[in-house]
Amino acid sequence: MENDELVQNMLLELRRGVLSIAVLSQLSREEYGYSLLKALSEKGMEIDQSTLYPLLRRLESQGLLQSDWRIMDESRPRRYYVISTQGRAVLGKLKREWSAMSQTMNQMLSL
C-alpha cells in the first residue's frame, strides 16, 4: 500500500526526535549499549543497534552524556554511558516541552 510507506516514513521522523529524550531519560544510572537497548525494549521503545550506538556517540559529543570503558563483573570490557550535568539540565527542559506538547497534541487529536 502506498500509504503504508508514507506512514512508515512519518513514524521514522517522529521517533527520531523522541529517541534522544528516551535515551537521556534511561541513563540516570550507568548502562552499556546492549543493556540500554534491552532496557528501552522492555519499556516498549524498540530501537535498532545501528541507530542507538551512533546516537549515544552524538549525545556524548554534544556533552549530554559521559562514557568510559570498564570491566565490571565479567572479563569483557564494555563502554558505560551515564547522563552528564549538562544532560540533566537539557533533559529537564525537554521533559517540560514534551509534557506541554503531548497535552496540546492530545487535545488536538481528541485523545
Binding site: S50, Y53, W69, R76
Partner: protein, 338 residues
C-alpha cells in the same frame, strides 16, 4: 581469525580513522553480548549462529555509514543555494559557448563536413564545460558544508528584513534587461554592417579556390547612413532609459516614435529591389541551375517574411506602449476597493 574478527575488520575499513578502534571495540562488545544471550536461549553457538547474528547486525558498509556524521556532500541547508548557483553558472557557460559557436561559424566556410565538425566540437566542448562547472561548484559547496561558512549563509537568511520585500511591479517600471539587450545587439549589428560586412556572405569552393558571395548588395548598403543614425538614436535612448526608474509620458512617446521610425526604415530597406546578392545567376555559378532558381526564390521570399514580422512586432509593442500612455491602468487583476 574468527567470523566476528573478520566482520569487525571489514567494518573498520569504512570507519572514520579518528574513532576507528573505539567503535570497533564497541561493536565487538555488543556482538559478544548478543551472542551470549543466544547461547543462553539456544545452546552452544556454532558458525551458523554467528552468521545469522552478523546478517542481523547489517552489512559492514551499512553499519560503518551510521557512524559518519556527514552522509551527504551538500546538505538541505545549502541545497537551494547550490541549485540557484548551478542554474546561473550553466546559463552563463551555455551563453558563452553559444557565442563561441556563432563566431566559429562566421569564420568557417560552412561547407558540409566543416559545419558538422564545428557543431560536433561545440557539443563536445559544451558538455565538458558543463561537467567541469558542475564539479567545481559541487567541490566549493562541499567545502562550505564542512566549514563554518554555512553558518554565515544561514545568518544572512535569518537577518532578512521583510521591509526589503519589493512591492508589486509597476507597469511603468523600466525593464533594464530589455535596454541592455537592445544596446548589445544594436552595437553588434553596427559593427557587422560597418566594419565586417564580409561576414554576411556565402562561401563556396569553385575550381579549387574559395569564392565569396555577399548576401547583401550595394543597394542595401546605400541605406547604411540611415541605419547608423537610427542605431545611434536607439543606443542613446536605451542608455538614457537605463538611468531612469519609470516610464513617463515623454519617454513613452519618444520610444513610440523611435519604434515607428525603425519600422519605416526596415520596410523601406526590405522593399527595395536587389538588396540581396543571392540571385539565380549568382547561385547558378555554384552548381545546379534548377536548384539555384528554387533556392533564390526561397531566399527572395525572406524580405517579405521579415517585413511581416517587423511590422507585427512593432505594432504590438507600440500598441502596448500607447495603451499604457493613454490609460495608465494597473496590472492588478483584483478590483481596488477604496
Amino acid at each position: 581469525m574468527n567470523l566476528i574478527d573478520k566482520y569487525i575488520a571489514e567494518v573498520g575499513k569504512h570507519l572514520p580513522r579518528r574513532n576507528r578502534s573505539d567503535i570497533e571495540a564497541e561493536i565487538r562488545s555488543t556482538l559478544e553480548d548478543m551472542l551470549d544471550e543466544r547461547k543462553q536461549t539456544d545452546g552452544p553457538a556454532d558458525d551458523a549462529t554467528v552468521l545469522a547474528l552478523l546478517k542481523e547486525y547489517g552489512s559492514p558498509r551499512q553499519v560503518a555509514a551510521t557512524y559518519k556524521t556527514h552522509q551527504y556532500l551538500i546538505g538541505p541547508r545549502l541545497f537551494s543555494t547550490f541549485e540557484m548557483v548551478l542554474r546561473i553558472v550553466f546559463a552563463v557557460v551555455f551563453g558563452v559557448s553559444l557565442l563561441g559557436l556563432v563566431i566559429a561559424l562566421m569564420r568557417s566556410d560552412l561547407t558540409g563536413p566543416a559545419f558538422v565538425i564545428a557543431m560536433t566540437e561545440w557539443i563536445g566542448g559544451l558538455i565538458t564545460a558543463l561537467i567541469a562547472a558542475f564539479g567545481n561548484i559541487v567541490i566549493v559547496f562541499a567545502i562550505i558544508e564542512r566549514t563554518q561558512a554555512v553558518e554565515s549563509i544561514e545568518k544572512e537568511f535569518s537577518d532578512w528584513d521583510p521591509k526589503e520585500l519589493q512591492s508589486e511591479p509597476s507597469p511603468d517600471q523600466i525593464d533594464r534587461a530589455d535596454h541592455i539587450a537592445s544596446i548589445v545587439f544594436t552595437v553588434i549589428a553596427l559593427a557587422i554592417f560597418n566594419l565586417y560586412p564580409d561576414v554576411l556572405a556565402i562561401r563556396y569552393q569553385s575550381d579549387g579556390a574559395w569564392v565569396s558571395l555577399p548576401v547583401l548588395t550595394d543597394a542595401f548598403f546605400r541605406f547604411l547612413p540611415w541605419i547608423n543614425v537610427m542605431a545611434l538614436i536607439q543606443i542613446a535612448f536605451s542608455g538614457f532609459m537605463l538611468g531612469q526608474r519609470d516610464w513617463i509620458p515623454v519617454t513613452r512617446s519618444f520610444g513610440i516614435l523611435v519604434d515607428i521610425a525603425s519600422m519605416v526604415l526596415a520596410v523601406a530597406i526590405l522593399r527595395t529591389p536587389g538588396i540581396l546578392g543571392i540571385t539565380p545567376q549568382t547561385l547558378s555559378a555554384i552548381g545546379n541551375a534548377e536548384a539555384a532558381e528554387a533556392l533564390s526564390r526561397v531566399i527572395n521570399f525572406v524580405p517579405l517574411l521579415i517585413i511581416t514580422i517587423v511590422v507585427v512586432a512593432t505594432v504590438i509593442k507600440v500598441g502596448k506602449s500607447a495603451f499604457r500612455l493613454l490609460s495608465g491602468r494597473s496590472k492588478s487583476p483584483y478590483p481596488i476597493v477604496r
